[in-house]
């Protein structure tokens, strides 16, 4: 905890006081203070501090458990002292008034926390609230008694609120250095496993051995060194990235093409070479990200392009998985031809396409919410069919099908015990899926899907066979999902109906929405952030400590994104235009000056022509 404070700026330096500090928006303060207290209590009660306390970030002082609480007053302090800046209206200089606001907000949060600790001490609500434990109380008061804890929390929250609000006050350069140093240091601490794995691959163990303490966490000395290092780097690179980006977007024609090609080659080379240096865990993680990326790309075609909200997408994942298992496994209960994976894939495509048609045909005539609910139903039906006693002789019921062999390539075998090979297999299919999405997007069919998403009735009146077009989207999505299922089964070596819970559909949808619907890059980023960092429905991510809080974080993230950035992390240009129409119109209007002059000239011409033509017609 003290680490965040040491790296905080010299809070009140250079403050220009403009308004009296008592001139506060008390309502706003009350609201955010209450929110802060509520968030602190909630996070404590769901067990995050206790559960994550063993994960140490900075060796003796800060654990992930404490961090899960401490960020709240810091961030809310930043938020509460933020002012709405209106264009053309002079807003008052940020000053001590804002600092007081942040501190007061923190104070409210701290008092809430203190009351909670007192309650913890007096009452015993362990029955409904499992984490209402003396252990939590002990953790919260740092093992030094209630009174110490109460005072400590009030002061800590107050200071953190102050620090959060001071972000607005300090000069931009300081803000930049401090925020980079803090975030950089925290990332290095949190991603310890990944970094250790990576440095081991490059033969740099001695570095990680030095930086990280034995029981985990950066040592205090190194954390100061690293923070300073990152700070220096941030000063040195200031503006470089932006300049490079601007340079790139200014390039035109063949030069732009060449630059894009170089960029593509670098990224491709990196994805090909990097896994060679990564350990088993990281490769496993990448393979999982790839599997979900494949699913998300497929769903992106269905939801993002054609606008069909399919909540039963997991059905096709299951069909791909089961088809592969039945055709390749020697233990398949009814029919075991033990085919090669490559042959199986062809049959998987046909099968998934057929199932897509069969499910799609009745569903596709519905719209909006109704369609979502019916697909939800079909997704469950498929899983329950595989689990049923009725089909047990064919698919093994709840026991599933085991002993699925890996992919035999002649010179090597791709299987789960060698996640690197699985990653390369997934990579091939992801590349294929990206190519398919990219090409279809800019084709006759892609335009038809977009038109259907915009206005289905008009699309039909403009000559688009909407039923066929939607079915095609469904089938393309189904085929991509079935690839993912096939690879999953070959990787895991078995298939069970419980791998295809409804949660999978929902998580893929969240990946698409959070990443940026309708945008390939968005889906890529979405699957890396959600599946890679937080983890999939059963697959651990980089932050495997959060395993038990994963769904909560998913939900919170989804709510936050819907409120603050509905177009996703990396939105498609079209969607951000759609969701920020007013801003876009304003931009067009501001940029329109150059065009306007031309337009007026042109308008005069056409009007003259129009009038004379009109008279001719009238005369005739």
């Amino acid at each position: 905890m003290s680490a965040t404070m040491t790296s905080s700026p010299g809070a009140t330096s250079g403050v220009i006081s403009t308004a009296p500090i008592t001139d506060q928006d008390w309502r706003k303060l009350g609201k955010w203070g209450g929110l802060c207290a509520l968030a602190l209590v909630l996070v404590s009660l769901i067990g995050m501090p206790v559960g994550l306390d063993r994960r140490i970030l900075i060796h003796p002082v800060l654990s992930l458990g404490y961090l899960s609480l401490l960020w709240i007053p810091l961030v809310l302090g930043f938020v509460v002292s933020k002012r709405i800046e209106l264009e053309g209206v002079e807003s008052p200089e940020p000053g001590s008034r804002d600092l007081v606001a942040g501190a007061l907000m923190g104070l409210a949060g701290g008092i809430g926390m203190a009351l909670f600790m007192v309650c913890l001490n007096i009452f015993d609500l362990r029955d409904p609230l499992v984490n209402w434990s003396p252990k939590l109380l002990e953790l919260l008061n740092y093992g030094r008694g209630l009174s110490f804890g109460v005072v400590a929390w009030i002061i800590t929250c107050c200071v953190l609120g102050l620090v959060g609000s001071s972000i607005h006050v300090v000069p931009a350069a300081v803000r930049r250095v401090v925020s980079y140093a803090t975030f950089g240091l925290l990332s290095i601490a949190v991603l310890e496993g990944a970094i250790a794995d990576l440095s081991e691959g490059f033969g740099l163990e001695f570095l990680t051995d030095a930086i990280y303490a034995k029981r985990g966490g950066i040592t205090l000395v190194w954390s100061i060194v690293l923070a300073a290092l990152i700070g220096v780097i941030s000063v040195l690179t200031k503006g470089k990235f932006k300049a490079a980006k601007a340079n790139y977007s200014e390039l035109q024609g063949p030069e732009r093409k060449r630059a894009s090609r170089v960029l593509f080659l670098v990224v491709a080379l990196l994805t090909l070479v990097l896994p060679l240096f990564l350990g088993t865990i990281m490769n496993e993680l990448l393979a999982n990200v790839g599997l979900f990326l494949l699913l998300a790309l497929g769903l992106n075609i269905v939801v993002g392009l054609a606008g069909i909200l399919d909540l039963g997408y997991v059905a096709f994942f299951a069909v791909g998985g089961y088809t592969t298992a039945v055709l390749t496994s020697a233990d398949s209960p009814f029919f075991a031809p033990e085919m090669h994976f490559a042959v199986t894939l062809v049959i998987v495509v046909v099968f998934a396409g057929l199932v897509g048609l069969v499910i799609g045909a009745p569903v596709i005539r519905m719209r909006g919410d109704y369609l979502a609910i019916v697909t939800l139903g079909f997704g469950e039906i498929i899983r329950l069919l595989f689990m049923s006693d009725w089909l047990k002789p064919y698919f093994g019921g709840a026991q599933g099908i085991t002993n699925v062999p890996g992919v035999d390539l002649g010179f090597a075998t791709i299987k789960g015990t060698d996640p690197r090979s699985v990653f390369y297999l997934v990579l091939v299919f992801c590349a294929l899926a990206i190519y398919v999405s990219w090409r279809l997007q800019a084709s006759r069919l892609g335009r038809a899907w977009m038109a259907i998403r915009e206005d289905e009735k008009v699309a039909e009146a403009m000559g688009i066979n909407t039923v066929n077009a939607k079915l095609l989207a469904f089938v393309v999505g189904a085929v991509l999902a079935s690839f993912s299922g096939a690879i999953l089964v070959a990787k895991v070596g078995s298939v069970f109906p419980n791998s295809f819970m409804i949660l999978v559909s929902i998580i893929i949808l969240v990946v698409v929405i959070v990443g940026g619907m309708g945008n390939i890059a968005g889906v890529l980023v979405g699957s890396f952030v959600l599946i890679g960092i937080l983890g999939g429905p059963r697959q651990p991510g980089l932050l495997h400590e959060f395993q038990s809080f994963k769904l909560l974080i998913y939900g919170a993230l989804l709510v936050f994104m819907m409120l603050q950035r509905p177009e996703g992390l990396v939105p498609s240009a079209r969607r951000s235009q759609e969701l920020h129409q007013e801003e876009f119109l304003q931009d067009v209007w501001l940029k329109g000056d150059a065009h306007e002059a031309d337009e007026q000239v042109a308008e005069v011409h056409t009007e003259e022509n129009g009038d004379s033509k009109g008279q001719q017609e009238g005369g005739a």
Binding site: L440, A442, R447, A451, D455, R574, F584, A602, E603, N609
Partner: protein, 262 residues
């Protein structure tokens, strides 16, 4: 002689309400026919019936002597009937050019594999789609060209949206074009311009046009024939001059003179 489109005894009932009852109507190749009538006369329902959005209760609709009854809207468009909507219904988040390109769907054929393999046929078709789209947009002078191509349709002004909708209908390469109040909400200058354009749609592009319109100056200037609907029944047809002096029409619009009611 055969008409381009003929409608026989068309009757459409919504619940107990007769939107159209016993409508007989025809259009010849190359004609511009205006359909006028007071609000609720059944004009838009008439268009919806032709384009397959509403199923008639009785009667028949013939295009070139063949019935198009029971076809889906996209099939009707494929046979060469395009329409615009009374309340402009573009694809607002698609660009101006894409709005026109997508309307050529029924005249083109490439599907998944052409796009994936980037076949020569696919590239050629894309090229043609784009050229045709630009050709169609060029019809409206400088209003929808150049930098406008890549702007989303929601950016356009009201009059430009109306123009774009007509362009979209043109892009489906129809024989018969149904315009639902093409100049509604436009100022006199824009109205005059569009009136001229409607004339050119026939003379340059060879479309036959059926138009619903309330602006009598436009109706007078462009139409060969005017059909007046009231309560789902045609009460008069003929040239503008004949219709505009017809006592039934005047009554439908203005009501009966006071002395007759006594």
């Amino acid at each position: 002689m055969s008409h381009l489109m003929e409608i026989r005894d068309l009757k459409i009932t919504f619940g107990g309400l007769d939107a159209l009852s016993g409508l007989n109507f025809h259009v010849n190749e190359g004609e511009i026919v205006s359909v006028i009538g007071p609000n609720g006369a059944g004009k838009t329902t008439f268009f919806n019936a032709i384009t397959g959005l509403v199923d008639p209760t009785e009667g028949d609709i013939l295009l070139d002597g063949e019935s198009i009854l029971g076809l889906d809207p996209y099939q009707v468009t494929g046979l060469g009937i395009a329409r615009t909507f009374q309340n402009v219904r573009l694809f607002p988040n698609m660009t101006v050019l894409e709005n026109i390109m997508v309307a050529q769907h029924c005249r083109t054929s490439q599907l998944v594999f052409g796009a994936l393999l980037q076949t020569a046929a696919f590239k050629k078709e894309e090229q043609e789609i784009q050229e045709r789209a630009k050709e169609v947009l060029a019809f409206f002078g400088s209003r929808l060209v150049g930098y406008r191509y890549d702007q989303p349709a929601f950016v356009l002004s009201y009059a430009n949206r109306r123009r774009l909708e007509i362009a979209r209908a043109m892009a489906t390469q129809p024989r018969l074009m149904l315009l639902d109040e093409p100049v509604a909400g436009m100022n006199p200058m824009e109205t005059a311009e569009l009136t001229a354009l409607i004339g050119r749609l026939r003379s340059e592009w060879g479309f036959t046009i059926v138009m619903i319109e309330h602006d009598m100056r436009v109706v007078r200037d462009v139409s060969d024939r005017v059909v007046v609907l009231d309560h789902g029944v045609p009460i008069a047809q003929g040239s503008y001059d004949e219709v505009s002096t017809n006592p039934d029409v005047i009554e439908a619009y203005l009501g009966r003179p006071a002395e007759d009611q006594v």
